[in-house]
């Protein structure tokens, strides 16, 4: 049970103790896995900690990322999977069992982000992009969308205000309030 309990326990279909993230992603893509993979850094179990990170997949294409120890979701969670080998367990689930979790936009990642950032593998990036549904590979590079975005001062002001409020709130959390600029 992971990601706020939205993902039911799947059927364990593969388990490796010395898994490379890139090879795991390639294998998941080849098998067209729908389900999730739990990555745990080697030694984590011995240390008694819960250092698990989870990626979910639809037909082999990454959808969500979540890192339990930091409660980070989305691309923020991918940092936990950088470098090193992992104990990786792949679980299968019917697509409808993932539907609730896949509505959590904050945890969603671009389909090619794991291959690009964690595996640095051109071929895997290309294969993942080709396998991803069209509505998930729109990376916003559309010139019309960019022009529209930059012509909407209200939308940009909203992003700024939200970021400013978030920065101030988190500064308090991290003990950085005194570093905030009064101006």
């Amino acid at each position: 049970m992971v990601v706020d309990g939205h993902i039911p326990e799947g059927r364990l279909c593969r388990s490796r103790t010395d898994a490379d993230v890139g090879e795991t992603l390639a294998g998941v893509l080849d098998r067209g896995l729908t389900g999730y993979v739990v990555f745990e850094p080697q030694g984590s179990i011995l240390r008694g900690g819960d250092e698990r990170a989870v990626l979910t997949f639809e037909e082999g294409v990454p959808v969500l990322a979540y890192h339990a120890p930091t409660d980070a979701g989305g691309t923020d969670a991918l940092g936990a999977l950088s470098g090193g080998l992992f104990h990786a367990e792949s679980y299968e689930l019917p697509a409808d069992a993932l539907a609730d979790a896949h509505r959590v936009d904050a945890f969603e990642i671009p389909p090619t982000a794991p291959a690009d950032r964690l595996a640095d593998d051109d071929t895997l990036v290309k294969r993942t992009r080709e396998a991803a549904p069209d509505d998930r590979v729109d990376d916003g590079a559309d010139a019309g969308a960019v022009a529209e975005f930059l012509s909407d001062p209200d939308r940009i002001e909203a992003i700024r205000q939200e970021a400013r409020a978030e920065a101030e709130e988190r500064a308090a959390e991290w003990g950085l309030t005194d570093q905030l600029d009064d101006g």
Partner: protein
């Protein structure tokens, strides 16, 4: 004379580490440059700089009891001083992010330009510290809505801490993207100057695989030219090294009364 820049993007995949090293190498023609991998949770600068087997890294400097001298984590590479960060989660777990200010203060004393390769995230203290500590940020963007949106967000975080924007650099620009039009519009919302537009290039990945910065691996590549132009456009301000060092030392954790 010193100015510290955080090279930031807010979003992964924009080529921030490539940009940091490229700007560093280009600036090293004129300045004494130190590059620090401040992305302590997802370090990768070491792979770009041929330092995969570095014995001592920033992680060691961020552990109070390690007894490691700052100089031990500084490597002379490609005309720059490079401080890589380790990739182990154990190292990350043991590191105290607050100590980054001391490390930066020490390094600031002996260099002209400090470049902090910053995390592509804002979700933790260690991720946000580079933009808190820097004098100004360089925002690396792609001409896409998610990248511009995340760039605005990291700029706003930086401004909250009094860190202004030195400029924006458009990177990984594809031939079909009209970046000039985007840059003109974006300039209304981003501070500083538009430093340039770097084309997407296969040479970047080849350089990464070779463990060399782009400017060393493919100095004639159009992307390398664009980074040179961007570095020339960046106005490095003179600062008082001692003053900067003091500021870093007093930052983040105020002295007890």
């Amino acid at each position: 004379m010193v100015e510290a820049f955080a090279v930031a993007s807010g979003k992964g995949g924009t080529g921030k580490t490539t940009s940091t090293l490229a700007l560093g190498m280009a600036l090293a023609d004129e300045y004494d440059v130190t590059v620090i991998d401040a992305d302590t949770g997802m370090a990768n600068l070491l792979f770009h700089a041929g330092l995969d087997d570095a014995d001592v890294t920033l992680h060691d400097l961020l552990v109070e009891s390690s007894g490691v001298d700052v100089d031990e984590a500084v490597y002379d590479r490609f005309g720059m001083s490079v401080v890589p960060c380790g990739t182990s989660l154990d190292g990350f777990a043991a590191a105290d992010p607050g100590r980054l200010r001391d490390v930066v203060a020490d390094l600031a004393a002996d260099t002209d330009v400090l470049l902090l390769d910053s995390p592509a995230a804002l979700g933790s203290k260690s991720a946000v510290l580079p933009v808190v500590l820097a004098d100004r940020i360089v925002v690396v963007l792609q001409p896409t809505v998610p990248s511009l949106s995340d760039g605005l967000k990291v700029q706003e975080y930086a401004r909250s801490y009094g860190t202004s924007t030195a400029g924006v650099l458009f990177n990984r620009v594809r031939p079909d993207e009209d970046v000039d039009a985007v840059a003109d519009r974006a300039a209304r919302y981003f501070g500083g100057t538009t430093l340039g537009s770097v084309p997407e290039s296969d040479a970047v990945r080849a350089a990464r695989r070779a463990g060399e910065p782009l400017l060393a691996h493919a100095p004639e590549d159009p992307a390398a030219d664009a980074f040179h132009e961007a570095a020339a456009t960046l106005d490095v301000r003179s600062g008082d090294a001692a003053g900067v060092a003091d500021r870093f030392r007093s930052a983040v954790v105020p002295d007890r009364p």
